[in-house]
Subunit: 383 residues, 4 copies
């Protein structure tokens, strides 16, 4: 059976139902425009996966930078207890005065690999790029008005050169844009130096793989969030104390992660990131980058708790990719960040959501109630 | 506004639409049972994220182990070109005779951290656990008939002990099961030794964070797949040669990933893993584990190409979690792996899908056509 | 000029002095037997590097396990302030009641790589090795009465198999022994399975390279040490407090190392390890393994400080290698651990020495006096 | 017994001999000036460790950059076969036309950690440093005419700031200089911002610990070397072929190291680095940094072999530290790189030496003769 012979999702579904003797009724139940999606977001469309979408929050904002007082967090997930947990985190933050966030654009990266064959040519290529950053910026700019080459990092072994190009892609996550721009750049480099680009994507991006490079040199957006949870809130809402929280954090997020050789010194960033990403049309494979980062917890003298999160490599957009699809667009709008000029705010809000999630899980663990909350909320009966 | 005061997704949607001045029409368009989902998979439900679902394949199977001749690959994604790319990979594999796969259950892990406070107690705890594996297995078995403690690994610094429990969770991914089992185990350990469990999840699992521990000691399932692509297929379908493929692989997947300090010596496992996971109701945060692994490529004497993939930590299930939701269940059925007794086959098939995806992307890169294929398929107009 | 044409170190020195117009007078000033050394430890001998040797300690021992009350620590180094720093650490430990240590033999590893070419043969090889551990143990035993194969760990990608053999090498570090044993084992595997060993050392050992594998699965000896430093000693000898020490440790050894993507969550293990290794004839390249590990510090309620170290991969011996050379033997004797039956005690003592060094440096840093102590002790005048 | 009560090494030796009932005759046999060493390089001096010193080479140089035609390599080691192996590598390189090298000064780093306590102060500190790089350069310059602050990298989590200062330290390795300079800088920052420096060394240097940061962002010197070994030389001297060498390299240095989660994609850099470091008075603990790096091997069409090495973080000096001690100075002179103005040349030569060592070991492994060569050269009788 050749799926590409069919024109519509309906035809494909029917053929597949026959071929695999299965029903695809629910997959066929969707409300987006088949034509638009099929031309931009997917091929061989047969319908849609429906991922349950819940809402956590609102989460109150303390700093004036963000210009909103609070926001909701749409979470698409099938893991019971997650939305409840983030919601509890929001409540604890809110009753303690709100979250402070900060975000910094690092840029979407593309990292081609050039095979030079010798030290001499490696040095030549290195020098040429260093001296022609402006030329390369112009090449990049020619491919799209939305992409701007902002930084270049070059590394080499003797006979290979790896270049990490950082781009400002506006409100888009922009992997496709930067690939096209990098192809243009690479072509120019090849023409000028006679050295061939082995692959426009040489894993020096490094895209969608766990890597120290992204952890250390960052990718996409760097995001921080912090809150001070009052002693009273710790006791009444989170059923724990600052000291217990600190001990769990130190044993789990620091020593446990050290023992495991991890780039994730946190409790569960990936849970919140993946649920927000699926809800809002981000590339779910970038959960890999989003799972990295360091949570910091301190027990303050007055019994309050300082908690903060740090996302070194958040890959997000508010235009392009899957952000324009109907439910995804609605989720972004619900969060107040759909469209142009909103990506920085989105970064802040993801940071706030992650903090709420960390706070709540660490409290559950310090209360010893992790499985209990799962049991009650998600799996009433014995699995 | 308190979301938990509303009883139905409709009420929540309407309240949110009013509060945030947004429309949630499409999110409200879903076909699953609100009650069931809301009790098991999510809280504060307002509807569903619709993720476009395409199908790649069929992918032909060469080895007799898998007992099927071919299978389809459901992919939920918003990234244009992905389904087309995997489909092309399937075609190349099929015309070369099919894929060979292998899978091995490692087990779902939970890794609590115990604070002992001293070397003496650390040694005591270590010894007690070593001598009472049977006791702990019984404790685990008491929590569910579907969970079986299979292996214990203990690590310690002087005053903390980290234990990595491996469980056979049958056809379920089973994180909740193993959390409950580990709580039971930890309780017994606490009672017997007087040493307190600081956190039932001590990041020695290590769940949903990039980590050497999962890369080296594995988690969930280990999966391998391989195929030999004929010289003719390389030329006609993949527009490349074995030698070119090898050079791209060496420069990108090996040297580029080495340069980046990565646990992902591959082209884009995470893309296929995330799309299959969302389609089939897996926990999308486990894309982190699924993004790791090593692709191996060899240029054979006769011009053919050997290609293989290795997934060190694939976290999957065919029952439980989101697998029973309507579209997810349909996707699993489409793939031929829904329900009990199918998880090993599912592991094999995911391995096959990943191989098809790797083959196709590496070919695109060696042909220099990565962005071109994106341009044509997904972004006809300048972004 | 061909160095191998000369018979004695004197002839080589004279030829080199002439050729390079340099003086080698001091290098020619040594007291070991040229013949013995030249046949076992080095080729093209021209003399000796004289590395200044100082002594720290004695360090008092608290636990009865070690069967000594105190010991001295010989340190060969050219870095001013190191011996003084370790000595200060010893004094602080002594006046607080002594150090408690623990050591566990993991084994010296050799990790060959086999090229199988296919999943089928990989599975075959895996199964054969699993079923013939006894056979392989016998093969190993045939190569030396001092080497015993104790554990086998197998990992594979589809077409390569990596095996990590762990050996008990008695009181020797034993890399040469285990290489010979592994060659014998590999030969047998090749004969039985027809699968060729690509390299007897396949970097799955992994010898003398920084690697998560050694950090996580250990190598050589695992060693722990701990001490409780009294509030008074902190104040009078270390000029700091438990709380300050804790803050420096948390910021530097935990968060700083996390930020750096390190396997060394410590202050300066490598300084002590390298100085002890050179003094006692260990393989100095194993400083790489010895630099890894986790220091743990806690501020206790009464103002005392708990401090511990953990060495995951200490590669040492008290016989063989350079241990029998005159000064090296003397240093081992000074430490009370020369010869057979002493390696476990040596492991304990190295652990104690590392703890003393950690304690002292962390105190210097928390006192803000790191450079000051260097200035005073090592570099009185402006460099 | 209090070692600090003694004035001379002789007194200390005698007291220790009595106390430990050991002989320290050979340790007492040395030729350096006790006073000078005891004031600069060590405390509690009792004598010297004599490490056998052999010479490999000469190694011929192909590129004109280095301005020498060949050089010798002094190696202080107790590991039999190492000097012979490097010598064989030199011979193979020489008969193939020589080695090409390249070196680039990255700078010695010091990385303090500041505790800010909040995002607000973190942003303030970040901004202040960014805007006052010139001020900090002046502060650094005030501490020594030999130290120059060249680059600043700032990273932060929400409540901690880590700064990586890079310094040009001339011909010295310069850790003490940069510590003093960083203390001065940190003091100024504290005064200007009111934010306290928690530790002048915050493991963001990151000194003497295996770390992705040094691998990725480099430290000290970056060094490359390459050679093309002719088919004939491969056959006659190295007893192997280009293809066999390539296969061993791919299986061991790439796939094996990938499997091990290593920053060392090489055969044995640490062996050569440690032996050169001890011979020439470098800080032996910097073997940790020197063990990292990537070897690259290619089988050329005509049967020749391209081989190259890359050292990302070589910490060396030709003045200061242990370089001025008698035997160490002689070894540097023998190598032609003692004193001011020679450190870049030293970097080149270390690169060449490492290449010779890599070539020879990979050849031994591909010939299957690793243990055999050990057996013959170092351990004639069964161990």
């Amino acid at each position: 059976m050749q799926l590409r012979n069919f024109k519509t999702s309906k035809e494909r579904r029917e053929a597949l139902e026959k071929e695999t003797k299965s029903s695809l009724k629910h997959i066929g139940h969707f409300s987006f425009s088949e034509e638009q999606v099929g031309n931009r977001n997917i091929e061989n469309l047969i319908g849609a996966a429906q991922v349950p979408l819940g809402v956590a929050g609102p989460l109150q904002v303390k700093s004036e930078k963000l210009k909103v007082k609070s926001f909701f967090i749409p979470l698409a997930t099938t893991e019971g207890a997650l939305v409840a947990s983030v919601s509890r985190g929001c409540k604890a933050v809110n009753e303690s005065g709100g979250v402070i966030t900060h975000a910094f654009r690092v840029g979407t990266t593309r990292g081609p690999v050039f095979f030079t064959g010798s030290l001499e040519k490696t040095n030549l290529l290195f020098a040429w790029i260093k001296e022609h950053e402006d030329v390369l910026k112009e090449e990049a700019a020619m491919t799209s008005s939305h992409v701007r080459l902002t930084k270049i990092r070059i590394k080499s072994i003797a006979n290979y050169v790896f270049v990490r190009f950082y781009f400002d892609t506006g409100d888009a996550m922009g992997m496709n844009m930067v690939t096209i721009a990098t192809e243009q750049i690479a072509k120019r480099i090849e023409e000028e130096t006679g050295i061939s680009c082995l692959s426009v994507a040489g894993n020096f991006d490094i895209d969608k793989k766990p890597a120290a490079l992204n952890f250390i040199e960052n990718r996409g957006w760097k995001v921080w969030a912090e809150a001070v949870i009052t002693k009273d809130v710790l006791q009444t809402i989170l059923k724990t104390t600052a000291e217990q929280m600190f001990e769990v954090w130190l044993g789990k997020c620091m020593l446990g992660s050290a023992m495991s050789g991890s780039f994730g010194f946190n409790a569960h960033y990936a849970n919140i990131i993946s649920a927000v990403f699926i809800a809002t049309g981000q590339d779910a494979a970038h959960v890999v980058e989003g799972s990295m980062g360091i949570t910091s917890v301190r027990s303050l003298k007055n019994g309050d708790l300082y908690v903060s999160i740090y996302l070194p490599a958040l890959m997000i957009g508010t235009v392009g990719g899957g952000t324009g699809l109907p439910t995804q667009k609605e989720a972004l709008e619900l969060m107040g960040v759909f469209g142009t000029g909103r990506v920085e705010e989105f970064a802040h809000k993801v940071g706030g959501a992650v903090l709420a999630g960390e706070l709540s899980l660490l409290a559950s663990l310090s209360e010893g109630s992790l499985a209990k909350s799962h049991e009650r909320l998600g799996r009433a009966k014995k699995v």
